[in-house]
C-alpha cells in the first residue's frame, strides 16, 4: 500500500527533491506519537482529550513520513468512528455536531488512506455544505455573492474552511465540480492586492489588511495547479521575501508547504523549522501544528495532487 513505507525511504523515492539534511524526522515522529492517547485519538495539547484536527494532522504526518500503516491504524479507527451518518465529521466524540468544517480535513485523511466509503460520504457532505452569501458592502472590496465553505453551517465563507474543502475536493478528483470552481473564485477574490491572505476580507475601507502566514500558505497550497500562476505570484513572492519574519511553528510549516508545492526553494525556512521543532517545550506544543511541521519537513506533497 502507498503508505506502508519507512521514514527514510521517502527520501530515496523522490529524486527530484534534495536529500533531507537532517536525519531526525523519525525522532519528530516519535515525539508526535508520544501524544497519542490510548483511545486512539490525539489531543491539541498534552493533558487534553482527543480532538479531530490534531488526529487528522497526525495521521497525515505519519502518511507523509512513510511510517508503517500499523502506527496510523488506531488514529484511523478513531477518525472513522467520529464520522456522522450524513458524512460530516465533528470536533470530538462528545460534540459530533460541532466544528463540521473539519470534514474537509477528514476527507483528506480518507483519501490518502484509501478509505473510500468514508471519503465518499465526507465528499457528499462537503458538497452539500455551502456558505451563505450576502450582498456586497462598499466598505469591503470583495464579492460577497460567491459561496465557499463556512466554519459553521449557515454562516459566511472564510479563507481557511474554503481552502481545506478545496484541497479535499482537488485531491479526490473533484477540481472541476462547480462548487470547487466557485470556491477557487472566492479564494482568489480574497487575495490581498499586494500579496497574501488575511483570514477573511483583504481590505476594509480602502486599507489593506495584514497577511497571515497560515492562511496565506494554506490558500496558496489549495490553489496550487488550480489557478493561473500570475494571480498567485505576488503572494508567493511575499512569502519568500518576508520569510525571515515568520516565527511561529504554524507559519513556518505553511510557508514551507506552500513554497515546496509551487516548486520554490524553502531551504532556509526548513532549517528554521527543524530548529524550532527540535526545541519546543512540551507545554507550548500544539500537536496539530507539530504534525503540520512534520508534513512540511517530509517534503511529501500531502495537500496537492
Amino acid at each position: 500500500m502507498r503508505y506502508n513505507t519507512f521514514v527514510l525511504n521517502i527520501l530515496t523515492q523522490q529524486p527530484s527533491t534534495p536529500p533531507n539534511p537532517n536525519p531526525d524526522l523519525a525522532n519528530l515522529i516519535n515525539r508526535l506519537t508520544s501524544f497519542f492517547l490510548p483511545g486512539g485519538g490525539c489531543p491539541y495539547y498534552k493533558g487534553r482529550d482527543s480532538s479531530a484536527e490534531p488526529t487528522f494532522l497526525a495521521a497525515l504526518a505519519l502518511f507523509a513520513s512513510g511510517a508503517p500503516a500499523e502506527r496510523a491504524k488506531p488514529l484511523l479507527s478513531w477518525v472513522q468512528t467520529l464520522q456522522n451518518m450524513d458524512g460530516s465529521v465533528g470536533v470530538n466524540p462528545g460534540h459530533r455536531g460541532q466544528g463540521l468544517w473539519l470534514t474537509a480535513q477528514a476527507a483528506i485523511v480518507f483519501h490518502h488512506y484509501e478509505l473510500k466509503e468514508n471519503l465518499k460520504r465526507a465528499q457528499d457532505f462537503l458538497l452539500s455544505l455551502r456558505s451563505i452569501t450576502i450582498s456586497n458592502d462598499p466598505r469591503l472590496k470583495q464579492d460577497n455573492t460567491l459561496a465557499g465553505w463556512p466554519w459553521v453551517p449557515g454562516t459566511f465563507g472564510w479563507v481557511e474552511p474554503t481552502a481545506w474543502s478545496l484541497i479535499a475536493l482537488h485531491l479526490s478528483g473533484q477540481a472541476g465540480h462547480p462548487r470547487a470552481v466557485e470556491g477557487r473564485k472566492l479564494l482568489l477574490d480574497r487575495r490581498i492586492p499586494s500579496g497574501g491572505w488575511n483570514y477573511g476580507n483583504p481590505n476594509l475601507d480602502d486599507k489593506e489588511l495584514l497577511p497571515f502566514w497560515d492562511t496565506t500558505g494554506l490558500a496558496l497550497t489549495a490553489l496550487c495547479g488550480q489557478a493561473e500562476i500570475d494571480r498567485l505570484r505576488p503572494s508567493l513572492d511575499l512569502v519568500e521575501k518576508k520569510q525571515d519574519k515568520i516565527e511561529s511553528l504554524c507559519g513556518l510549516a505553511w510557508a514551507v508547504i506552500c513554497l515546496h508545492s509551487h516548486g520554490r526553494d524553502a531551504g532556509r525556512l526548513r532549517t528554521r523549522l527543524w530548529n524550532l521543532m527540535g526545541s519546543m517545550a512540551e507545554e507550548d506544543l500544539h500537536v496539530g501544528n507539530f504534525a503540520l511541521g512534520v508534513i512540511a519537513l517530509s517534503q511529501k506533497k500531502v495537500f496537492t495532487a
Binding site: 480532538s51 460541532q98 458592502d137 466554519w151 472564510w158 483570514y199 497571515f212
Partner: protein, 321 residues
C-alpha cells in the same frame, strides 16, 4: 442584516433609550469601580492591583484563577490587544493574593495561530513561571445552557479551562468597535468560546446578533472580576483598524457592567445610549452613574473623547466627571 441598516437601527434604539430613560429591573446597588493610574506599560502594578482586588473583597486564596485578556490579532503599530504588562501585573497580583493556580487563557478571535496570542514568547517571558498560558481556541469545551434568550442558541460551548476555573477575570482593552460602539468586559467574553467550535471570527455569534450574543453570554457566564486596560486605548475604527488613544488608567471592578459603563464615560460615550449596555442594565447592576462608586484616582483626570465612526457619534455624552 447589513451593517448600515444595523447601525441605523442601533442609532434609533440609542435615541429611544435616551428619551425613555433607564428602565432597569435590577435594584440599585453601589458598585465600586477603581481607577488605577498607569501612565505607561513600564511599571509593575501587581502590588497595587492586589490591594484593589483585596479591597473589593475578591478572595483568591487557594483558588484556580483564569485571566481572560483580549488578543484579537497582532499588529506592529496598533494597540489591539490587552498589553502583556497589564496581564503580568494582574497575574502576579493573583499570586500575591494566594491563588493556587493562575492561567492566562484566550480564544483569539481572528488569529488561529496561538503564537500570536497567549503562546507568544513575549508574554511567556514576562510572566512568573507559576503562571500558565492556555490556548482556548484549540481544545475541549463544556456545553453550558444559554441562560439568555436572545440568540436562540440553546447552549454555549465554553472552553474547559474557563468552565473549570473558580475565578474568571475579564481583561479587555479599552476600544471603540465599528459595530457596537465600544468593546469592553462584556464583549470580551466572546473569547471564552473555542474557535474550533465557532470559527475565526466567531461568525455564528455575528449572525445571531453581536449584541444578542454579548447579552446572552453576560447572563450565562459569571465573571468574578474585571480589569480594563485603558493605559493606551484604541479610538476611531476599532477594534482593529483604529488609532492609539492614551488614557493612562486601569479600570477595576467586581461588576462588569459598572466597569464597562465607567470606561464608556471615560471614552466620552453615554453608556445609556449604547444599546447593548443599556440592555445589560436590565439584569446587571452598574449602568447608572449614581450607582457607581469611583475609587482611586479622580476620573476627570482620564476623561477623553474617543474618536468614533460617524454612526456612533449620537451615542456620545458627558461631560460625566
Amino acid at each position: 442584516m447589513k451593517r448600515r441598516q444595523f447601525l441605523k437601527d442601533a442609532t434609533l434604539l440609542a435615541n429611544a433609550v435616551a428619551l425613555s430613560g433607564i428602565a432597569q429591573n435590577v435594584p440599585s446597588e453601589p458598585c465600586p469601580v477603581t481607577l488605577l493610574a498607569m501612565a505607561d506599560y513600564g511599571r509593575d502594578l501587581s502590588r497595587e492591583i492586589a490591594a484593589v482586588m483585596s479591597g473589593d473583597g475578591l478572595q483568591l486564596k487557594g483558588k484556580k484563577v483564569l485571566l481572560k485578556p483580549n488578543f484579537v490579532e497582532a499588529h506592529p503599530e496598533r494597540p489591539i490587544n490587552t498589553h502583556i504588562a497589564v496581564i503580568a501585573s494582574a497575574a502576579h497580583a493573583c499570586l500575591r493574593l494566594g491563588a493556587a493556580e493562575v492561567v492566562v487563557g484566550e480564544a483569539s478571535g481572528h488569529r488561529r495561530d496561538p503564537w500570536f496570542s497567549v503562546l507568544n514568547p513575549s508574554l511567556r517571558g514576562i510572566l512568573d513561571k507559576k503562571v500558565k498560558c492556555v490556548d482556548l481556541n484549540h481544545g475541549d469545551a463544556v456545553s453550558v445552557t444559554n441562560a439568555g434568550r436572545r440568540t436562540g442558541l440553546p447552549v454555549f460551548y465554553v472552553a474547559k479551562p474557563v468552565a473549570g476555573a473558580d475565578i474568571l477575570i475579564s481583561m479587555p482593552k479599552m476600544k471603540t468597535h465599528h459595530w457596537m460602539a465600544v468593546t469592553l468586559c462584556l464583549k470580551n467574553l466572546f473569547g471564552i468560546l473555542p474557535g474550533v467550535y465557532y470559527g475565526w471570527p466567531k461568525n455564528l455569534l455575528h449572525f445571531r446578533g453581536i449584541d444578542n450574543s454579548i447579552l446572552d453570554l453576560a447572563r450565562t457566564i459569571k465573571v468574578h472580576y474585571n480589569i480594563i486596560d485603558g493605559v493606551v486605548g484604541m479610538e476611531g475604527d476599532g477594534p482593529i483598524m483604529g488609532k492609539a488613544k492614551p488614557v493612562g488608567t486601569l479600570v477595576l471592578s467586581l461588576f462588569p457592567l459598572a466597569a464597562d459603563a465607567t470606561a464608556a464615560r471615560l471614552m466620552g460615550f453615554d453608556p445609556q445610549r449604547i444599546p447593548y449596555l443599556f440592555q445589560a442594565g436590565r439584569f446587571l447592576p452598574g449602568l447608572k452613574q449614581q450607582d457607581v462608586v469611583i475609587r482611586g484616582e479622580k476620573p476627570a483626570r482620564f476623561a477623553a473623547q474617543f474618536d468614533c465612526p460617524e454612526e456612533f457619534k449620537g451615542m456620545r455624552g458627558g461631560p460625566f466627571f
